[in-house]
């Protein structure tokens, strides 16, 4: 048996499959098909949580995703723990572990409930009015207290063990909601052959039909019709049914985010499966069939466990075979609660009375209730309730025609059902930016004009009776198919036997006669917002509904006001004496219901977070024990430590080997672009500061590229391979930027130029062989290239073969030594590297990483774009005016260089720095001042851009940008550090072989 409150039969749960689970450590049983809420109710458990602010005992209010109260934490361990799940949505499975939240030490006895005592002081926004003295106390004392009190569930403390996936999908028609409207739409649309997706957030499709016992559709009982419709749809290959899938967000151009929950409901999930999947659906047409949500009534003490929505109680009885209580009292403003009362009575729940807010309720349902012997009381309101952890009685009073309440009568019950009518679920429609229109008769906002390609059908657009809902769905479905370009959709009609429950309802606070400042009638259950709070906000001048929301926090809880927003609107409207539509609405935002972070991250985690780019030589470097650094998406070898070496020792050794013998460096990550066409040189002239016309084929030149605003964007060595062909190199991180900018100018400014670009970054592996012995190492490996000084001078390029594979061999040096950069097709990179390494062995060839590369180039005063420059540096600042083609009339960025501030003499300019104490190595980023004794704030003259220990020079060296620096060369300045100033001398930014004799070797 699964609890005393289980009906003897009926419902859609599988009574043959008993399921065991625990809640707050106590074990319970339920049936397959139960939600945690239905299973707890079957066991007589109503108290499941505590409210946010006052820690009031709270029970289960709804049967769906709109549940504000019954929030639980679920998970056997922290790696699988999820806080704030709605018990009404959690499907139970064997071994499920759930716990209540926001209570200590226990749910029944919660110390936090002392807040109740302070409740009079904890009015809306109380924290804005106090805790200001003493100044420091807010952050130190008050805030931590408030933070601890707030916050509902606890975050898991272990990394999530599950995986999540993301997938894009396209369909002709996406139908959201598989109630009668959605199913009818799906049947119609899919008959046309259109590709249709149908998603519903619930485990079972059918929506309100799943709780329907008497209606007959096309001669079938609702349940049978639903089963048949679903079977029909499932059999159609153009239909995809997606249960447990919430459409949570609508983004521009009919792009919707759907969250599918895959494993949370199973005890032993297939480990291959993701926990949840994000569907990113682009739909030609969307049909919204999202139904309507029942509204609570707002009356004094309406928040006790045992107070529930009438339709939810009906769902528990009809769909789950659960009696939510023994004796129910019903408080309603509409007919549907009568239907609920009758169904509950049939399930064995005693109905104490129906209190109807309406003056003279009548008609079919009222008659039926009366005929069933139910005590129906017209013009009657609830004026209060009692019961600490569960409701035990209700006070009723007659409502006079003047709106006053009469004497009250107390009726014992363990269940109070309420219904204020239904609010259409227009969330997604509104997210799509469609305009909502207020319908006075329905007291509801309905979808008006569309912005996107969508239509709403059924209860979500205010249509409520099953026959009209079905026909509306069918019409909407065929309309959508037609709009998506599919003729022949069947918009047939349905023959339905059912009885209308009308569209009555109520918004706002029901009359109760209580003292306005003493009674508490909850509007937003989860955030503990009472009618009093809303009125206070208005009294304090918060007139806009947006202000009321933010001041009181109504509608800001995890249910986003699904049950509360209309009542808040009603109350504001009444208090301000302005019509509801003039009060306005707060904005509907994604997600429709809270959505796991994991699905947004999807597969982008760990090494797949970003592409991890590796060169063909990467694995070799790994085998050699290299330490890597991240440079944009690339992994680059930073240095190659030998046993016992730290970075400094390794770099010193690598530098020394390269200066004295030969080093080998993987420069593959450099960006490369092939510029081809008869106007190639012209394009180069326009894009780079340099002049290119005269560069002969077979020669290299260092090029500088600016942004149009005049600041250095990139640099690199460029080879002219032929009159109409250049081989550009760029910085590692800059390659995509440079290519994009050049392509932009070619396509949009100079389409007349005959020139084309091709990225060749990944075509070539680049092996830099640098050092006095470089030529010796390479000579035996190359065919048909004369490496001699005379035949192949510094800054030249030759094509030929190395180790039998084609190469573009650059004679170039970023180290200041004799050097070559061997470009070979990337697939041969590793092999050629190893061959060169083997050939270099006798000469002591030493692999070096980016750190050594940086030191060697700094000794030569070569800049690194991004280190010496930072997006505010002109070529002249960086000492590169020599690279500007003086005779050129124009190039990208030239005009900007003529602006007043760009030519000022006190701009920061590149200089060298030598510390007076040669052993002191400056910190990169350290600031430079004239007088370290000046008071703070100091006048800063510049900063250290690069700083290293130079083994070659046996002293420290640094590069810096200093205000008017070139004119200050020879001066001494100071670098004030926390433990004292460091005196530095400004020198030319070149420390080693200033004449360049070594590169020319």
């Amino acid at each position: 048996m699964s609890g005393r409150f289980r009906t003897p039969s009926g419902g859609r749960v599988d009574r043959r499959r008993t399921i065991r689970f625990t809640f707050d450590g106590k074990s319970y049983q339920g049936f397959e098909g139960d939600t945690l809420a239905s299973a707890l109710l079957a066991n007589g458990v109503h108290l499941v949580g505590r409210s946010f602010k006052y820690h009031r005992p709270r029970g289960i209010v709804t049967a769906g995703s709109d549940e504000p109260n019954a929030l639980v934490g679920v998970g056997v361990d922290d790696a699988h723990y999820t806080p704030n799940l709605r018990a009404t949505q959690v499907e139970i499975y064997d071994g499920l572990v759930a716990e209540s939240q926001n209570r200590w030490p226990s749910l029944n006895f919660d110390v936090g409930a002392v807040n109740e005592v302070f409740a009079p002081f904890l009015s809306a926004g109380f924290y804005y009015k106090t805790f200001m003295w003493p100044r420091a106390a807010w952050a130190k004392l008050y805030e931590p207290l408030i933070r601890r009190a707030a916050g509902l569930g606890r975050a898991p403390e272990q990394p999530d063990a599950d995986r999540y996936t993301q997938v894009y999908a396209h369909c002709d028609v996406l139908i959201v909601g598989a109630g009668p409207a959605g199913l009818a739409a799906a049947l119609a649309t899919s008959a046309s052959g259109a590709k249709v997706f149908v998603c519903d957030e619930q485990a079972e499709m059918g929506g309100s039909l799943l709780a329907e016992k008497t209606a007959v559709i096309d001669g079938l009982l609702a349940a049978d019709w639903t089963a048949k419709a679903l079977a029909d749809l499932a059999a159609r290959t153009n239909v995809t049914l997606m249960p447990r899938t919430t459409a949570f967000g609508w983004y521009p151009h009919n792009f919707l985010g759907l969250c599918e929950r895959i494993t949370d409901h199973v005890a032993k999930a297939d480990p291959k499966l993701p926990r949840e999947r994000l569907w990113q659906v682009r739909a030609k047409e969307v049909v919204l069939a999202t139904g309507a949500l029942e509204r609570p009534l707002v009356f004094p003490d309406n928040d006790r466990p045992g107070i529930m929505m009438a339709e939810a109680a009906r769902i528990y009885a009809n769909r789950f075979g659960v009696k939510p209580g023994d004796k129910a009292l019903i408080f309603t403003a509409c007919d549907s609660a009568y239907r609920a009362a009758l169904d509950l009575k049939a399930a064995g729940v005693a109905i104490a009375a129906i209190a109807d807010l309406r003056a003279a309720p009548g008609g079919l349902w009222v008659d039926r209730a009366r005929a069933a012997g139910i005590d129906v009381r017209a013009a009657t309101v609830v004026t209060g309730t009692s019961g600490r952890l569960r409701i035990d009685s209700v006070s009723l009073a007659k409502l006079g025609p003047d709106g006053r309440t009469g004497a009250s009568e107390t009726i014992a019950c363990d269940l109070l059902l309420m219904s204020g009518g239904f609010t259409p679920s227009v969330h997604l429609f509104s997210q799509s930016r469609g305009k909502l229109v207020y319908d006075e008769a329905l007291q509801a906002y309905l979808p008006g004009a569309s912005v996107e390609r969508e239509r709403s059908v059924g209860a979500c657009r205010g249509i409520s009776d099953l026959d009209t809902v079905l026909n509306d769905g069918a019409a909407g479905g065929s309309g959508a198919a037609q709009a998506a370009g599919f003729a022949g959709a069947l918009g047939g009609t349905f023959a339905v036997h059912t009885d209308s429950v009308g569209t009555d309802g109520f918004i706002g606070v029901t009359p109760h006669g209580g003292h306005p400042s003493k009674t508490r009638a909850w509007i937003d259950f989860q955030n503990d917002v009472t009618a009093k709070d809303v009125k206070l906000a208005i009294r304090e001048g918060f007139r806009s509904i947006e202000h009321v929301k933010r001041y009181t926090t109504t509608g800001m809880a995890t249910d986003q006001g699904k049950t509360s927003n209309m009542n808040a609107l009603g109350l504001v409207s009444e208090t301000l004496q302005i019509p509801v539509p003039q009060v306005g609405l707060t904005t509907f935002r994604p997600p429709y219901t809270p959505t796991t972070f994991g699905i947004f991250a999807g597969q982008s985690r760990g090494d797949l977070f970003d592409p991890l780019r590796q060169t063909p030589i990467h694995d070799w470097a790994v085998a050699q024990g290299a330490v890597f650094e991240d440079v944009s998406l690339w992994k680059r070898a930073h240095y190659f430590p030998r046993a016992g070496e730290d970075m400094h020792a390794a770099v010193a050794r690598e530098c020394k080997a390269t200066r004295q013998a030969v080093g080998i460096f993987d420069a593959t990550t450099l960006g490369k672009i092939e510029v081809v066409g008869k106007d190639a040189a012209e394009l180069m002239n326009r894009m780079y500061t340099n002049a290119w016309t005269k560069l002969e084929p077979g020669r290299l030149r260092y090029g500088v590229m600016l942004r149009e605003d005049g600041f250095v964007m990139d640099d690199g060595v460029v080879g002219r391979m032929a009159p109409d062909r250049f081989h550009i190199t760029t910085t590692t991180g800059g390659a995509p930027r440079v290519l994009a900018m050049m392509e932009d100018y070619i396509q949009t400014e100079w389409p007349d130029l005959d020139v084309w670009l091709t990225s060749t970054t990944e075509e070539w592996a680049v092996i830099a062989v640098q050092g006095p012995l470089a030529r010796k190492v390479l000579e035996p490996l190359v065919e048909d290239i004369d490496l001699s000084r005379e035949a192949m001078p510094h800054m030249s390029v030759r094509e030929g073969k190395i180790c039998g594979v084609p190469t573009r061999l650059f004679r170039v040096s970023f180290t200041g030594e004799l050097g070559f950069e061997v470009n070979v097709p990337a697939g041969y990179g590793r092999a050629v590297w190893e061959a060169i390494f083997a050939a270099g062995k006798p000469y002591g060839i030493t692999p070096y990483g980016t750190e050594t590369m940086h030191v060697l180039r700094a000794e030569k005063g070569f800049i690194i774009v991004g280190q010496e420059t930072d997006g505010t540096v002109t070529p002249d600042d960086a000492g590169l005016s020599w690279a500007i083609g003086k005779a050129k009339k124009d190039f990208v960025g030239k005009r900007s260089l003529a602006r007043p501030a760009m030519t000022a003499s006190d701009r920061k300019q590149l200089v060298g720095l030598l510390t007076v104490n040669p052993k002191t190595v400056l910190e990169e980023g350290a600031q430079i001042v004239a007088d370290p004794a000046q008071p703070i704030p100091m006048t800063m003259l510049g900063h250290v851009t690069s700083s290293y220990w130079s083994t070659t020079l046996d002293r420290s060296i640094a590069l810096a940008l200093v205000r008017g620096g070139r004119a200050r060369i020879g001066e001494r300045l100071s670098v004030p550090m926390p433990d004292g100033p460091i005196t530095v001398e400004l020198v030319e930014p070149i420390f080693y072989d200033p004449k360049g004799a070594r590169l020319d070797a």
Binding site: M132, L152, R154, R605, F609, D630, G871, S896, E923, I936
Partner: protein, 416 residues
Amino acid sequence: MQNYSAFSLFKQALGGHAGWQKQWRSPEPKAEYDVIIVGAGGHGLATAHYLAKEHGITNVAVVEKGWLGGGNTGRNTTIIRSNYLFDESAALYEHALKLWEGLSQDLNYNVMYSPRGVLMLAHNIHDVQSFKRHVHANRLNGIDNEWLSAEECKEFCPPLNIGAMRYPILGGALQRRGGTARHDAVAWGYARAADARGVDIIENCEVTGIRRGVNGAVEGVETSRGFIRAKKVGVSAAGHTSVIMDMAGVRLPLESYPLQALVSEPVKPAFPCVVMSNTIHAYISQSDKGEMVIGAGTDAYTSYSQRGALHIASHTLDAICELVPMFRRLRMLRNWGGIVDVTPDRSPIIAKTPVPGLYVNCGWGTGGFKATPGSGNVFAWTIARDEPHKINAPFTIERFRDGILIDEAAAAAVAH
């Protein structure tokens, strides 16, 4: 102005809170004001407050097309810090930070300024160099900012994953005085204080035109509630600045982009400080109510639609889940957008315009909440005296013509 204190709260509680006064009035616009501020965001309201408080100009209207505080002030991730690189920006943001420190008391409104520390993470050597440059420059400017090793980052913010990830954390720059404040309270506190000094805050009043006299000078603003006369008009309309300046025939170097933020469901305290990572695009802190407040990036394109694309939010959450893998199971509660106005150098403009009597405060992009008190303060000065305060003197419109840019982002690739 009614005094707010624990005592007054206590007293009012006994009286059923019946005695609380309106925090601000909802006056009808007068025919004429000395100064009109366009836009009742934090900046506009602060400007009005300081005009009244520090310059004695109380015949001021703040006109707002919607509800006050409903612009970016009400939709930002509330990160406050002042550890900017350049002297100009450092001075401006530090001026603001000093005001933040006493703001609750100044306004008699608890804005919940919470200096819990802002930690900016470095994921590569370039980040390290750039952050250290900030640390040193800040130190010499008298602004607190310190370098933490990866282990120290972890100690300061235990939930952080500093190890196995695509871009491991190499360290971070921590400004301990940085933190957050309650966005709404800032708008409301300024509104209440300004109102108490006589400023008219006129909501639901959209500026639709700027009237200029024959000499070109400003005469007032056309609004959805009629013409309102004033010789001085200060525009503080954030994302909508271009639209309003267009009314006066002034084109500014601005583009408006959607910027998104999102919150998780509330949980018990689980994240002690503010963490920013520009390299992988993640900004996170936990609010006093318990939500994780997370900032995403801007969309690629300009827009006034006040929402953003799903892939932008996804990209932020993948970063958050890498930084704090136990948050992968938290759930997004709400995701919204704002419209931020961005200048070419990502620094603001607080200046006089070519139109006499027209002043503008704009271009705060993704990072102007932190500046609210300082910006309002110097903008008020600029309007009152018809000349910039020395702190905002560099933040002119002309700097773009002359090339005197204040490009924090270019200097460091650091967003706000």
